[in-house]
């Protein structure tokens, strides 16, 4: 019952005219940027973070929620109309969706993706609202060592459980962790790894790193591939409305996708991709039209797209209740919270319930807005897809540097942007994943704090980390998530894992 009251209060906060406007701006910007080819949700959120700098925390987070959902939405449009398998969580949508668009059924494909995202977003956001209070209660019994174990688990799942190499995942993670040490130590005030450079004392900005790695690294990488001819955008022919048959074939996949996607997003398992792949596999097995799979089956769009959005909402469960980002997008959202001095976690629910519930409620509102906004405006989004590459990437770099200059107009910060951009490019060339660096940078200091607290309580006795049952179980799961994929890869079963690679989220 209490949840209901809180949610209702949250809706009252979110329904204030100014907040509605912020949500509307958020979803519009999020969709517009998310639609651009090559820009995933993580980069969308990082690029648009500066837009929210001058707002109050409440309004800014509400706009942020809109940007997050809008970015997820925009990505599916791109993958249906433009076959860009590089684009993170909607790879699976591209499998069937692009085939449908080529067969002239782009309209229904976009519609089932949009409505499926809406249904999944609605159920999953309500799920978030109802589960969050229980996890908060659970989190209150967590001590430093349980938190530390949880973070270790997140580190492992983000870096090495999926993707094509344990070595490269772990290397990315530890590069991020090494960068996280730079600056003044939070507990003793001593400067570490700053080499007497005053600008380094504040540490490395998460947003600078994320924008550099995702925007500049990606731009350099695309440019270095040379001209491979223009991508073909499929025109939307005919009606965008779904026929009765389309509805009949879509509603079950939407619900199944939601049920598969939400728990996967809510667990510290990282990435929306896993849910979309599982949903695709489930639909393929259950369908009555197996011959259509591979040639544009509507179930293959409806299910994964629902799973994608449900797990996007799911990742907010650990982020809001535990302060634990499990994807790069969530890591940047955490940076957004931190710029207002807010630390998500169980305490935020107690100290700032208005803000948290306003945020959850505005996710519901953003979801409605997206449904209303997307179907009629589809023609506009399609136009955005046809921007020629030179102008597109020139514009991306313009806005990437704009954000950094707006946050800190110094030559030094731009130098960092360039350096990390080159690092991001090199990592792409050699097949290193990017997300673990970002998650390592933001989660590193938090994990260190918990570890040192736990060890200070035990007076330096390391065994304390394993003697709490919860912490021990979490660490065992983390060890399994590290070792099992290693064995699978050694036995040549690695293809499945590399398909599940979470590169962008």
């Amino acid at each position: 019952m209490a949840t209901f009251d809180f949610l209702l209060q949250g809706l009252l906060v979110a329904a204030q005219p100014m907040n509605l406007l912020y949500a509307l701006i958020g979803v519009t910007l999020g969709t517009a940027v998310g639609v651009l080819p090559g820009i995933g949700p993580a980069l969308t959120v990082a690029l648009l973070l500066p837009v929210t700098y001058r707002l109050d925390p409440g309004g800014s987070l509400i706009m942020f929620a809109g940007i997050y959902y809008g970015g997820m939405y925009g990505g599916s449009t791109t993958s249906i109309l433009l076959n860009t398998p590089g684009e993170s969580a909607s790879i699976v949508t591209a499998l069937e969706g692009n085939k449908m668009a080529r067969a002239g059924r782009g309209g229904p494909a976009l519609a089932t993706a949009a409505i499926g995202s809406f249904v999944a977003g609605l159920i999953a956001t309500l799920g978030l609202a109802f589960i969050a209070p229980y996890i908060v209660k659970l989190a209150l019994v967590f001590g430093p060592r349980e938190y530390f174990a949880l973070m270790v688990l997140a580190f492992v799942t983000v870096s090495s459980a999926f993707g094509d190499s344990t070595l490269r995942g772990l290397t990315s993670l530890f590069v991020g962790l090494a960068l996280s040490v730079v600056g003044i130590d939070q507990l003793t005030g001593q400067a570490r790894l700053s080499f007497g450079v005053p600008e380094l004392l504040d540490g490395i900005e998460v947003t600078t790193l994320a924008v550099a790695m995702f925007a500049i690294g990606e731009t350099l990488f695309i440019a270095a591939q040379g001209d491979k001819g223009p991508d073909k955008v499929e025109a939307v022919r005919g009606s965008v409305w779904m026929s009765a048959n389309d509805w009949a074939r879509s509603w079950k996949p939407w619900l199944r996708g939601t049920i598969i996607g939400f728990p996967i997003g809510a667990m510290p398992a990282g990435g929306a991709e896993i849910g979309t792949f599982l949903s695709y596999a489930a639909e393929k097995r259950l369908t009555k039209h197996p011959e259509e799979f591979g040639n544009g089956a509507i179930e293959g769009v409806a299910g994964p797209e629902a799973a994608n959005n449900a797990s996007a909402a799911g990742t907010l469960v650990p982020l809001l209740t535990l302060g634990l980002p499990t994807t790069a997008t969530a890591a940047i959202m955490l940076a957004g919270f931190q710029q207002y001095g807010l630390q998500p976690g169980p305490l935020l629910f107690a100290t700032n319930p208005q803000l948290v519930w306003g945020l959850i409620a505005s996710l519901l509102i953003a979801n409605f807005m997206l449904l209303v906004l997307n179907l009629p405006l589809i023609g506009l989004w399609v136009k955005l897809l046809t921007i020629p590459k030179p102008w597109l990437y020139a514009g991306i770099l313009l806005f990437a540097t704009l954000g950094t200059i707006g946050a800190n107009p110094s030559v030094y910060e731009l130098g960092m942007l360039l350096a990390f951009g080159l690092l991001g490019y090199a990592m792409r060339v050699f097949g290193y994943p990017i997300a673990p660096v970002v998650v390592g940078l933001i989660l590193g200091p938090l994990a260190e704090q918990q570890l040192r607290r736990a060890l200070a309580i035990s007076q330096g006795d390391y065994s304390v980390l394993f003697t709490s049952p919860i912490a021990a179980v979490l660490l065992v799961i983390a060890a399994a998530a590290l070792i099992v994929p290693l064995i699978l890869r050694a036995r040549g079963r690695g293809e499945v894992l590399s398909q599940l690679a979470a590169n962008e989220d």
Binding site: D164, T171, D185, R192, A223, A224, D227, K389, P390
Partner: protein
């Protein structure tokens, strides 16, 4: 991903780029050891201080460097696609120019140059066209963000001409 399991190339020639990565990882670990050793003695009564975690990270990086070196010798790294160097240089040049000119020339001109050079990297050769377009676009962006959203973007001669 095609892994280098061709016995002739994999066993004879170690992957030099991957070896270089291993060396860099080792160097970062060494840098952390060197820097943190200055802080030694600051650990409190619990023997856990600001040095504990950096040491742990450096040890892991060292282990990863050895592992990378091992894979480099076995040729386990994925094959890399050929990279065009020229576009990368154009774009990096654009970013460097923006960085150096920002304070002197202001946001619009510096970022306009970045815009034009990035477009050049992607094959738009007509700088006489893309440069003015970039500068005008950046000026519009400057007006929106600096004047309406109050972001502090450095002004230069062009911005002072109008405001």
């Amino acid at each position: 991903m095609t892994k280098g399991h061709h016995p002739s190339t994999a066993t004879r020639r170690p992957d030099r780029a991957a070896l270089f990565i291993a060396v860099v990882l080792g160097a970062i670990a060494g840098l952390i050891f060197w820097d943190v050793s200055r802080l030694a003695g600051a650990a409190g009564y619990s023997q856990v201080g600001p040095t504990t975690v950096p040491y742990a990270i450096a040890c892991c990086l060292l282990a990863l460097a050895i592992w990378t070196g091992f894979e480099a010798f076995r040729g386990d790294f994925p094959e890399r696609e050929r990279q065009e160097v020229a576009p990368v240089i154009w774009i990096v040049g654009g970013l460097a120019a923006q960085m150096l000119l920002l304070k002197v020339a202001g946001f619009s001109i510096a970022t306009g140059i970045l815009f034009a050079l990035t477009a050049r990297g992607f094959g738009k050769r007509k700088l006489w066209f893309s440069l003015p377009v970039g500068i005008v676009l950046c000026f519009v962006v400057w007006v929106i963000f600096a004047k309406l959203l109050q972001l502090s973007l450095p002004a230069g001669p062009l911005e002072r001409l109008f405001f």
